[in-house]
C-alpha cells in the first residue's frame, strides 16, 4: 500500500473536518451545553444547537458561497490580465487596478451620456482599453523596459497616482452609479425565454447583474484562453513569456508582443469594468480592491497561468466571503492573507505553476 495514494484525500478530509470544527467552535453556542443545568448528553446538545444555528444561518452560508464564486469570477478576469502582463513583460503592473477604474468611468460615460447599455458597451470598452493599454505601454513602460525592476514598479505606481488624480479632477470623487432598468423580476433573455430575477437557490439570491458579471468573466477568460492556446498570436505570446531570446530568434517581434500583451491585459480590466459597474459605483479609487485581490491571485494561481488565475479568483472570492462567517468579527482579508502566506510557504510557484 502506497501512503502517497491516499495522501490527497486524507489531507482534504482533515481540512474539511477542521473547517467544520472551526465553524461550530466560533458560531454555535456550545458553551451552554457544558453548563451543569444543560439537559442530555453534551454531544447531542451541541448537535442540536448546531442545527438550530444552521436553520438560521444556513442561508447565509449559501449566500456567501454564491456571492464569493460570482465575484471571484471577476477577480479571476482581472488577475488574468495582470498575470499575462507579468508572464510576458516580467513587470508587476501596479496600475492595473487604476486602468480598471478608467474602464469603469468609460462605461459610466457611455451609459450616462450616450445611453449605451454597459453590456453592449463591452464592445466599445474592451477595444478602447486595449488601445489605452497600447498607449500606456508605448509611453510609460517601453521607455523603461531596460530599467531595474523596482524602477518599473515605481513607474506603474506613479501612473496609478496620476490616473487617480486625473479622474478626481475631471469627475470629482462622487461615486458614479448606474442603475439598469431591467434584470429585476421577469426578464426576457434575448427574446428567447423569460427568467425570474433574482434567481433563488434555497433562499440564496443571484442577481441578474452579478450573474452576468460572472458569466461574462468566464466567457472572456475562455476566449482569451483559446487565443493563448490556439492562435499564432497566442503561441507567440507563450513563447515570449517562456524564452524571450528564443522567441526573438525564431522571428517573433517581441517588442510588438509586449505591447499587444499589455493591451490584452488591459482589455481584461476593461471587460471587468463594464461587467462590474451595474453593481459597483465608479470612484477614482474603485479599482484598488480588484488590484489587491489580483496580486494575491496571481501569486496564488502561479505567475503567468491563465487557469490558475480563474481558479485563484474563485478561491479568493470564496475565502473573502466565508472568512467573516467562520471567524465572526475578523477582517475578510485575513483568510485571504492566510492562504496567501500558506501558498508562499508550501507552493511558492503557485497552485498550478510549474516549479522553477
Amino acid at each position: 500500500m502506497e501512503w502517497k495514494q491516499y495522501r490527497g484525500s486524507l489531507i482534504g478530509g482533515l481540512v474539511v473536518i477542521s473547517l467544520f470544527a472551526i465553524l461550530i467552535y466560533n458560531n454555535v453556542d456550545w458553551r451552554a451545553c457544558l453548563e451543569p443545568e444543560a439537559e442530555g448528553f453534551v454531544l447531542s446538545c451541541v448537535a442540536e444547537n448546531t442545527s438550530a444555528w444552521y436553520a438560521r444561518y444556513g442561508v447565509v452560508m449559501r449566500q456567501a458561497t454564491v456571492s464569493g464564486l460570482l465575484i471571484g469570477g471577476v477577480y479571476g478576469l482581472v488577475a488574468l490580465g495582470l498575470t499575462m502582463i507579468f508572464g510576458v513583460l516580467e513587470i508587476i503592473n501596479f496600475a492595473h487596478g487604476a486602468l480598471m477604474t478608467v474602464g469603469l468611468y468609460i462605461t459610466f460615460i457611455l451609459f450616462d451620456t450616450f445611453g449605451i447599455d454597459p453590456y453592449l458597451g463591452l464592445f466599445i470598452t474592451v477595444p478602447l482599453l486595449f488601445f489605452i493599454g497600447l498607449i500606456v505601454y508605448r509611453v510609460v513602460i517601453h521607455p523603461a523596459r531596460d530599467a531595474p525592476h523596482h524602477n518599473q514598479l515605481l513607474l506603474t505606481l506613479g501612473l496609478t497616482l496620476l490616473i487617480e488624480n486625473l479622474l478626481l479632477m475631471v469627475f470629482t470623487a462622487t461615486p458614479r452609479a448606474i442603475r439598469l432598468d431591467y434584470g429585476r423580476g421577469e426578464t426576457n433573455i434575448l427574446g428567447l425565454f423569460v427568467m425570474q430575477f433574482p434567481i433563488r437557490i434555497w433562499r440564496a439570491v443571484i442577481t441578474f447583474d452579478k450573474l452576468l458579471a460572472f458569466l461574462g468573466a468566464l466567457v472572456v477568460t475562455a476566449i482569451l484562453y483559446t487565443i493563448i492556446q490556439k492562435t499564432d498570436l497566442g503561441k507567440a505570446i507563450r513563447a515570449t513569456a517562456q524564452e524571450r531570446d528564443g522567441a526573438a530568434l525564431v522571428g517573433i517581434n517581441t517588442d510588438w508582443i509586449n505591447m499587444i500583451t499589455f493591451g490584452i491585459g488591459t482589455a481584461c480590466v476593461g471587460a471587468a469594468a463594464a461587467l462590474v459597474l451595474p453593481f459597483r459605483p465608479a470612484d477614482p479609487t474603485a479599482g484598488n480592491l480588484f488590484n489587491i485581490t489580483a496580486f494575491i491571485i496571481v501569486v496564488l494561481g502561479g505567475m503567468g497561468n491563465a487557469i490558475g488565475a480563474l481558479l485563484g479568483g474563485l478561491i479568493i472570492g470564496l475565502t473573502q466571503e466565508l472568512t467573516g462567517i467562520f471567524f465572526p468579527g475578523s477582517p475578510d482579508l485575513i483568510g485571504v492573507f492566510v492562504i496567501f502566506i500558506l501558498v508562499l510557504l508550501f507552493r511558492p510557484q503557485g497552485l498550478l505553476g510549474q516549479a522553477a
Binding site: K235, A236, A239, E243, D245, G246, A247, L249, T254, Q354
Partner: protein
C-alpha cells in the same frame, strides 16, 4: 555574404567587443574560436540583433543590418542556434519546431522542413509530443538545431553546439553541421572543440579580449604554433 566592420558592443557600462571585423563567403564554414569570455557569444548576439551594436557595421547579403530588429534579421535568413539553446521549455517538441517557422513566408514549407528535420534527428520524431524542458541535453541540442533549420537559414550561426554532449554525440552533431553545409547553407560556428572545428571549417578567426587577433584557413590555424599551445592543448 556577411561582413563585419569594427563592431563594438557590450552590456550596460561594460564594453565587450572592441572593433571586431570578419568576413564570411557564401557556402563557407567559418569557425570562431577563443578563450572563455573573449566575446564570441556577444558577437553572435549582436549579429542576431539581440544586442545593439554601439558602432561598426554589419553587412549581410549586401544590406546594412546593423540596426535591424531581430525578427527582421531572422526573416532575412540569418539564423542562430544559441548558446544555452533558448528553447521554449513548456512547449512540446513539435510546438518548438513549428515556432521555428513562425514567420508567414515559412509556413508554406513547414511540413516539408519538418520532415527534413525528423530525418536528420529521428529522435525528435519519436518525442514530438514531449515537453521540451524534459528532454535530455543532447535531445535539446538537436531540437535547437532542428528549430533553426525550420527557419530556412541562409547563414546558420551555431554557438557551441557540442557543449556538454557525449563524444559520440559531438561527432553526430558535427556530421549534421557538415550535412547542412553540403545542402548549401553557409555556417558560422563557435566551438570549444577547436581541433574538430578547424578541420571542418574552410576558414577560422581567433578572438581575444573582444578583438580578432588571428585568421586564416582551417589548416593554417591548426598548424599555427600560437593556436596549438593556446587553444588546442597540443
Amino acid at each position: 555574404m556577411l561582413t563585419i566592420e569594427n563592431l563594438e558592443a557590450g552590456y550596460g557600462d561594460v564594453k565587450v567587443l572592441f572593433g571586431v571585423s570578419l568576413e564570411i563567403q557564401a557556402g563557407e564554414i567559418v569557425a570562431l574560436i577563443g578563450a572563455n569570455g573573449a566575446g564570441k557569444t556577444t558577437t553572435i548576439k549582436t549579429l542576431s540583433g539581440l544586442l545593439r551594436a554601439r558602432s561598426g557595421r554589419i553587412i549581410y547579403d549586401g544590406q546594412d543590418i546593423t540596426h535591424w530588429q531581430s525578427h527582421k534579421i531572422v526573416a532575412a535568413g540569418l539564423i542562430q542556434v544559441a548558446e544555452g539553446r533558448k528553447l521554449f521549455p513548456r512547449l512540446s517538441v513539435l510546438e518548438n519546431l513549428e515556432l521555428g517557422s513562425f514567420l508567414r513566408k515559412l509556413r508554406a514549407n513547414r511540413a516539408k522542413n519538418l520532415k527534413h528535420v525528423y530525418s536528420l534527428f529521428p529522435r525528435l520524431a519519436e518525442r514530438k509530443n514531449q515537453i521540451a524542458g524534459t528532454l535530455s541535453g543532447g535531445e535539446q541540442q538537436m531540437l535547437a538545431i532542428g528549430r533553426a533549420l525550420m527557419s530556412e537559414p541562409k547563414l546558420l550561426m551555431l554557438d557551441e553546439p557540442s557543449l556538454g554532449l557525449a563524444p559520440m554525440l559531438v561527432q553526430d552533431i558535427f556530421n549534421v553541421v557538415q550535412g547542412i553545409n553540403d545542402d548549401g547553407t553557409t555556417i558560422l560556428i563557435v566551438e570549444q572543440n577547436a581541433v574538430q572545428t578547424l578541420r571542418m571549417a574552410q576558414r577560422g578567426y581567433v578572438m581575444e579580449h573582444g578583438k580578432i587577433t588571428l585568421s586564416g584557413t582551417g589548416d593554417e590555424l591548426l598548424h599555427d604554433d600560437r593556436i596549438r599551445t593556446a587553444y588546442l592543448g597540443l
